[in-house]
Amino acid sequence: MLSSPVKPQNYKTDVEIDWCPGCGDFGILNALILALQELKIPNQNVVLTGGIGCSSKIPHYVNVNAFHSLHGRSLVHAEAVKIANPDLEVISAAGDGDALGIGSAHFVAAGRRNVDLTYMIFDNGVYGLTKGQASPTLPFGEMPKSLETENIKFPVNPIFLGLASGFTFVARSYSYNIKHLKETIIRAIRHRGLAMIDIMQPCVTYNNINTKEYYDGRLYDIEKEGWNPLAENENEYREKVGQAVIKSLEWGDRIPMGVFIEYKTETYDQKLKRLIPDYGVRNYVFDPIEKNGKPLQDITEMMQSFL
């Protein structure tokens, strides 16, 4: 990895933002930029991936490396970036449809790996960019104005699913609480392992139910009410994850936010080292594979094993 002499520049690009006025996404963008400024990670060492949807345009607005991928695949791209170059700081953005509809297989599988990255889910209950169809997190029986019929499917609970899938950092925050969101992003980035933030993000155009007014009175901070999410070992984790699951089921007049679990355990780079002793010793990207066109990897022994 190149150690950077470059100072963190402004983390904002001058690309014109095309979210609807008042969109909850603005709060997320601001909180992320504040978090990056506070952490002072050199711009060139950050990769921000996106899927497809309003949320996933965010890579274009943050002045870091931007991998705008396919619908549902933001997390997959993020995992591969981190595996290929563990020296990078990797953040993945996705909508709720991205993460929990089309990308749900990756969501579950990611928990098994525990790649050290931050996953931000922009959760608004609708598919905004295609004009407001029901997303996997839209509560049962609701009918925002953009829907033709009421929603007869039960919602996916991102917190519960994150805990069940083995995510080692699971949090909920709110796009209109920039201070909490910024602090949560910082904690997620500092967390060694897969960190997910389910961000309540009202869609001002299509979801007239789960609005700012809806969330403002309901969201409460579990950590302010005494919850300590930290698990330093497997026993503590087993104990806490069960309680966190119970908390995650709360929805209605009171909606919990804050960090549900923060489990310090082996990350994927550490696990890879069990199989590949030299993994991470030299950077796969910047350590050359050739010299004057000649390969540096000698396969003579591989060939000899077949004689």
Partner: protein, 575 residues
């Protein structure tokens, strides 16, 4: 005899692959050329399967219909394969068979003696019946028993007790089994050749090429390659990632490539179908990712362990929208190695997705191959930037249509990548029609450039006399049986097409124009013949096709070559 063909047949899981692999290895060490073919059922245990090993002092590139030594590991195998055994062939049997080619081997006595020697019950040795048959075969062809024992020892290097037991069986067979006659194979000189299949050749090619990231989802017949790579990744320091599905596999390979490492994924037809959306993304984002595509018999799940070349036209057209792609089809194990290395160079030089088309026959036939010449291995990473830069634009318009490629971590080289149409900076908020035309020209223009810059040898190979009237045209693993069958004719030449996209129309016209063209393909419709017509206007005079799930035996091709072009379509049926 000159050509010796051994067949081991029996229920899957009864050690047939161990038997044939060991025999192939022993004969390869003796200096013979070996070509083997595996016909497996898509099951773990029980169903009838058979392996063939062809041995010759001269080079052999295909299997034969003839069986000289049949090793049946159950009763039904005798009935199923008896008619294939040549007149002077041998059936190594445990039970009496009413056939004077049968050599009866006292399996039970041999195994009982060894069981006694180790003071263990006979039941523990029944799984080693195949070793009895194997030793009987090597004794009949006059092979020194120590040579067989050495290979067995190596095979069981991690389980020395098992090696000892098997070798005690070999001793017992060599002292107790007195065959009625001997089978003589023409002697040869010792030689150093690898015994490998294409999955291993590709694996070695990837390591030599500096691969750092491989992703895959288990699928026959592609996963053998990834499993081989897993076995060496600790030593050669790269990651093989088993993903949750093929969608993740291709997306991970793409993201790893965009991070700056050489990255690939390997799959077969059903898995490739899942990858297609991302293939289009790789084309749009100009990502140098390489997909190794092992064809098997389709459509749908088809016959998962059987062979076919049915996905040529699909690999050329899969993906929505228009984008540049390179498709390379190696024709044998050696080509698989060098083409693997080159596929990464092409991918990085032109910043395009590359598909390397292989097939089940290549993936599962072990054959003798000379050591690869590593001095021929060259690495060209194209316009990759790994040190500080400035005023960087990922999709900058350049004279050759190829932009300098920075990666995350390079100071001043921030990268923006997007699958939406984008400007030079990678940002997507331009759907400007003029930009669209320039970007399409930039991407699609690579195809002409590739066509112009790539050597003829990478595109086509011509065998035989250029003045011959009849020219066979084919691709992929049909190459082996074609070269073997051609030796029986003096009016035939052969054009092997190796690069399918961009299609080498000029070279193909050069060799085929004015000739009687015979296409040989392992699919139903003659997909290459269709492609040649589309790209050159040339019509084939006859199509020899095979689509019963089995690779081509050279003898059936000899027959077919005699029948065409009087017959316009010949369907090969040997199984």
């Amino acid at each position: 005899m000159k050509d010796l063909n051994l067949m081991v047949a029996g229920p899957q899981g009864s050690g047939i692959n161990f038997t044939s692999d060991t025999f192939a290895k022993v004969m390869a060490r003796e200096g013979y050329y070996v070509f083997s073919n595996a016909e497996l059922f898509s099951t773990i245990k029980g169903e009838h399967s058979y392996f063939r090993v062809r041995v010759n002092k001269d080079v052999v590139r295909s299997y034969s219909e003839r069986v000289d030594i049949l090793i049946p590991l159950d009763k039904s195998s005798i009935q199923l394969h008896l008619r294939e055994v040549s007149r002077d062939g041998v059936i190594i049997s445990e039970e009496r068979v009413d056939d004077d080619r049968a050599e009866i081997v006292p399996y039970r006595d041999i195994l009982q003696n060894v069981a006694n020697k180790f003071n263990r019950p006979l039941s523990e040795f029944n799984v080693m019946k195949n070793t009895v048959a194997l030793a009987a075969a090597t004794k009949m062809i006059g092979l020194e028993e120590g040579k067989l024992k050495k290979v067995i020892e190596e095979n069981f290097a991690s389980r020395p007790k098992i090696a000892e037991m098997n070798n005690a069986i070999v001793d017992e067979v060599y002292s107790l089994f007195n065959p009625k006659r001997e089978l003589n194979i023409e002697p040869t000189k010792p030689a150093k050749r690898m015994l490998i299949n294409a999955t291993q050749a590709v694996g070695m090619g990837k390591v030599a090429a500096g691969l750092r990231f491989q992703s895959y989802y288990p699928i026959t017949p592609a996963s053998d390659e990834s499993n081989y790579l897993e076995s060496v990744m600790g030593k050669y320091n790269f990651v093989v990632e088993q993903t949750e599905d093929e969608i993740a596999a291709i997306n991970m390979a793409i993201a790893a490539a965009n991070t700056g490492v050489r990255a690939a994924t390997s799959t077969s037809g059903p898995g490739f179908s899942l990858m297609v959306e991302a293939l289009s993304y790789a084309g749009m984002t100009e990502t140098p990712v390489v997909i190794f595509y092992y064809q098997r018999a389709g459509p749908s799940t088809g016959m998962p362990t059987r062979h076919e070349q049915g996905d040529l036209l699909y690999s050329l057209s899969a993906g929505h929208g228009e984008f540049p792609r390179v498709v390379i089809a190696p024709g044998d194990t050696t080509e698989a190695f060098y083409d693997t290395v080159e596929s990464f160079n092409i991918a990085e030089r032109y910043q395009v997705p590359v598909i390397v088309l292989l097939d089940k026959a290549m993936a599962m036939s072990n054959n003798t191959v000379d050591l690869f010449d590593l001095s021929k291995v060259k690495i060209d990473r194209g316009k990759l930037i790994l040190s500080e830069t400035s005023n960087y634009l990922r999709y900058r318009f350049t004279d050759d249509g190829i932009s300098p490629r920075s990666v995350p971590g390079v100071p001043g080289g921030l990268v923006t990548i997007a699958g939406d149409e984008h400007g030079e900076d990678g940002h997507i908020f331009t759907e400007d029609p003029d930009n669209r035309i320039k970007m399409m020209d930039k991407r699609m223009g690579k195809m002409e450039r590739i066509k112009k810059e790539i050597d003829e040898e990478m595109k086509v190979k011509f065998f035989g006399r250029s003045d011959s009237r009849r020219v066979i045209v084919s691709w992929g693993s049909a190459k082996g049986p074609i070269l073997d069958a051609m030796q029986s004719f003096n009016d035939l030449s052969f054009l092997q097409i190796r690069m399918m996209s961009p299609f080498p129309a000029d070279e193909v016209l050069k060799y085929l124009k004015g000739k009687e063209i015979i296409a040989v393909e392992q699919n139903y419709s003659g997909q290459l013949a269709e492609l040649i017509r589309q790209k050159t206007g040339l019509e084939t005079n006859a199509r020899i096709v095979k689509f019963n799930g089995r690779p081509i035996a050279y003898e059936e091709l000899i027959e077919a070559f005699s029948a065409v072009p009087k017959k316009r379509r010949v369907v090969l049926t040997y199984a």
